[in-house]
Amino acid sequence: MTLRRWLQSSAVALLAATGLSALALPSAADAADHTGGTLRLTSSSAAGTIDPQVNYTAQDWQIFYITNDGLVEFKKDEGPGSNDVVPDLATSIPKPQDGGKTYVFTLRKGIKFSTGAEVTPDDVVASFQRLFKVSNPNAGSWYNVIVGADACIKTPATCTLAGGVVADDKANTITFHLTQPDSEFFYKLATPFGSILPANTPPKDLGTTPAAATGPYMITSNDPQKAMILKRNPYFKEWSAAAQPAGYVDEIDYTFGTKPEDEITAIENGQQDWMFDTPPADRLPEMSRKFPKQIHINPLFAIFYAPMNVNIAPFNNKDARLAVNYAFNRRSAVDIYGGPRLAVPNCQILPPGFPGYKPYCPYTKNPGTKWSAPDMAKAKSLMAASGQAGQKVTVISDDQNTDPQISTYLVSVLNQLGFKATLKVISANIQFTYIQNTKNNVQISLSQWYQDYPAASDFINVLLGCGSFHPGSDASINISGFCDKTIDAAIQKNLVTAVTDPKAANAEWAKLDHELTDQAPWVTMFTPKQLDFVSKRLGNFSYSDQFKVIFSQVWVQ
């Protein structure tokens, strides 16, 4: 390292140590200087309905986090702090009562919807009833712990959650009664599904019609073929900078229908400020060399994995599954994705840095905590023992980003092992539901999972719990159909432990993570990183583990 470089890096380190928080939170004068302008976002496509209680996409959740609020919210902060839950429409985080089965929230006064109406306890009750009426994707798995939820799941149209969510207008409180303690209840309330909407919001999917907002921005128009426009909510007054800070830009224009290649060119030319899509690998060297200051790389709690159907041949044979795991070169998959700066090889269920994560990799040349190289000799001996050589295997991939290339590599590995593998690429619009439905007899596929909230169960229970396996349904997120009664009992027990002893629960999650990894229901490939490519004029780039870029906190002038 040259002296000049050393001085530069030391200066950066010093700045980081002393002034990072000052950079993250600009002074009032700075803030005033940067207020105004239009933030221009772009994506190849819209993300479907814009009903915050129905839409389950990372793309629109980034928007809902600045348009809507729940009783609680993930802190709008950078780094690990962004995983903390803070009070939002509620005045404080309530203490658990009745052994963790009752929570009493007090609603802040004076907060208004973008319609001008004040937020009341009745709106809160109606919003949770509406979750069931609009068939929220997680109503049955996240909110089924609320008393009365069972009846709502059976007959959503008449859902009242009687005895489950109780409003007290006089005291301005809402009381939640749960059937059992739930350590992740606040997390579930903090996602956009927990958004509080006016009581008179139609009890059906709003589709392309915007819901009333409480946050600093509201969606004023939305055409999924063209653009979504957000403007300032005239009734918004900042009540908690941690939960919902005021925004800098006056308007956000989100255009749809541009190819990722063109999105990059538009950002390079200053015509757009940010793109949702992953930049094509082919453009990375150019971006990296010419526009390094406009690139932000941050960690993601996510995994790329190939779920193997443990209920049909050939992967109902554990040796065959193990063989694929030993043979798969995770470094090659990382290279296809964009190289070691953009992804980290991974062998286990949980992503690095996640609660409950303890590094573990048995599927490598020198088994231990880190993946180093494939062990082809072991893979071939396992393959011989499995007796599955010559079996026909179809890999199902979607057509987005680098997924077809990663799947092509997987096909190559399977053929090397002796399978007769072929690739089937289908539209990303249907691939995710197609691979979940057991009627399609999918043997192996490529999929990704991004955290909903920072709890190990969001990977372990959701993706490999018996309760997530629904044969014959498009909503069977346990894609490999793995259901081990002993492991599942341990998962359910640990969910209860987590209410009172999160530390002990995380230690148990680590153990379960390793046990599940040993069963090899998947080939875990790697954990990706988030690459944000922004325009030259975009300042105060703020990244949260939950929301990624916080659009309300960036400025363009």
């Binding site: 082919d282 060297p285 060399r289 296809i336 964009g338 190289g339 953009l342 590599y409 190559s412 072929t422």
Partner: protein, 360 residues
């Protein structure tokens, strides 16, 4: 006999036309007058330098594609259907990674090695680290097989439908002609794409025969069928005209059976049209196959065709454009050669054809 293929010598031919002595001219004319139309056509074709050049190019391409396994084993020394992402090659004294991590700027991206202009990785690697040249040769085999087989299917079906409709006439002609109209009313690519999507997702089951979704037979059948009206309509028109011609009428008056008229008088006259169509259809089918494969609904991986290799190269246009350019050039050269050959065949076998492409 205006539509007969018999090429009667003209007075200009007999006068010599620059062939030297009158006696020699007379002898040549006599030879031409006694040789059959096929031989005369072939002789004309052999004298067409452009067409012969096209034949040479096509033969070279076919030979190169046939030699694909030999090239992969002995020259490129790699399996063009197996990913080689962590492989290395030695050029001179340097050992290079097939997939090269970018070291400039923030060090993002991994790029496949470019053309080495040597045996191994002559045209570079694709995004799976596979030798593009070896894949090109294998891909060419599939492109040529599909375009040839679909041309055969198309011409056989078109000849059958066109001849039956034109010769039988009446309600048979009405039904077949309307069917052709309906098929022709669909935009060709839209029809081909629709059929491909359906058949490639599920495969094709015809009675006890099951054709898997990744079989080459599927693009062959689709391309063969969608162009049937393109060839069948002119054949039907020609048969209609022949069926009303004097020599057919004379045959009918003499009590010659219909089947004999069809096989002895009609079909030989239609054959020239089919032969003229063959190279042109093969060129058209090759373009269609490439388009379908580029859209992922033609040849299915791990098989390759020039269209699928262009698709592979689409994601590398900025860093390794040769992956897309090379198969594109191969398609251009082959299609041009087929078109030149088609023009030559038409000039040789059907010199009075009303439909002329390109030449003034």
């Amino acid at each position: 006999m205006s539509d007969s293929v018999i090429d009667t010598p003209t007075p200009a031919d007999l006068s010599g036309g620059g062939m030297g002595e009158p006696g020699e001219a007379m002898a040549a004319a006599r030879t031409r007058a006694t040789e059959g139309p096929w031989r005369a056509g072939l002789r004309k074709l052999m004298r067409d330098r452009t067409a012969m050049g096209a034949v040479v190019v096509l033969i070279l391409i076919i030979l190169a594609c046939v030699a694909a396994p030999w090239y992969a084993q002995h020259v490129s020394q790699s399996d063009p259907f197996q990913s080689n992402l962590d492989g290395q090659i030695t050029i001179g004294k340097n050992t290079l990674d097939i997939m090269q991590a970018d070291t400039g700027g923030l060090g993002l991206g991994v790029t496949p090695i470019g053309p080495t202009w040597r045996g191994q990785y002559f045209l570079g690697a694709d995004d799976q680290g596979r030798d593009v040249m070896a894949r090109m040769l294998y891909g060419g085999r599939n492109s040529l097989i599909i375009s040839f087989a679909s041309t055969v299917i198309c011409l056989v079906l078109a000849a059958l439908v066109g001849t039956v409709a034109g010769f039988l006439g009446g309600w048979v002609d009405t039904i077949l002609a309307r069917l052709l109209d309906v098929l022709w009313a669909f935009p060709i690519y839209l029809l081909a794409i629709s059929l491909s999507i359906v058949l490639i997702s599920k495969g094709l089951q015809i009675g006890p025969i099951n054709i898997p979704s990744n079989s080459l037979l599927i693009p062959i059948a689709i391309i063969g069928v969608v162009y049937v009206p393109y060839v069948a309509r002119p054949i039907r028109g020609q048969v209609l005209s022949l069926a009303r011609s004097d020599f057919v009428l004379a045959a009918r008056c003499l009590g010659v059976p219909s089947s004999r008229i069809l096989f002895r008088d009609i079909l030989p006259n239609v054959t020239t049209t089919i032969i003229v169509f063959a190279p042109l259809m093969m060129a058209l089918n090759m373009l269609t196959e490439s388009a379908l494969s580029f859209l992922s609904i033609g040849v299915q991986p791990p098989s390759a065709s020039w269209g699928t290799i262009i698709q592979d190269g689409e994601d590398l246009l900025y860093t390794q454009p040769m992956v897309a350019i090379a198969p594109g050039l191969a398609i251009i050269v082959t299609v041009l050669a087929l078109n030149f050959l088609g023009d030559g065949v038409r000039d040789a076998f059907d010199p009075r054809a009303k439909l002329r492409v390109g030449k003034g």
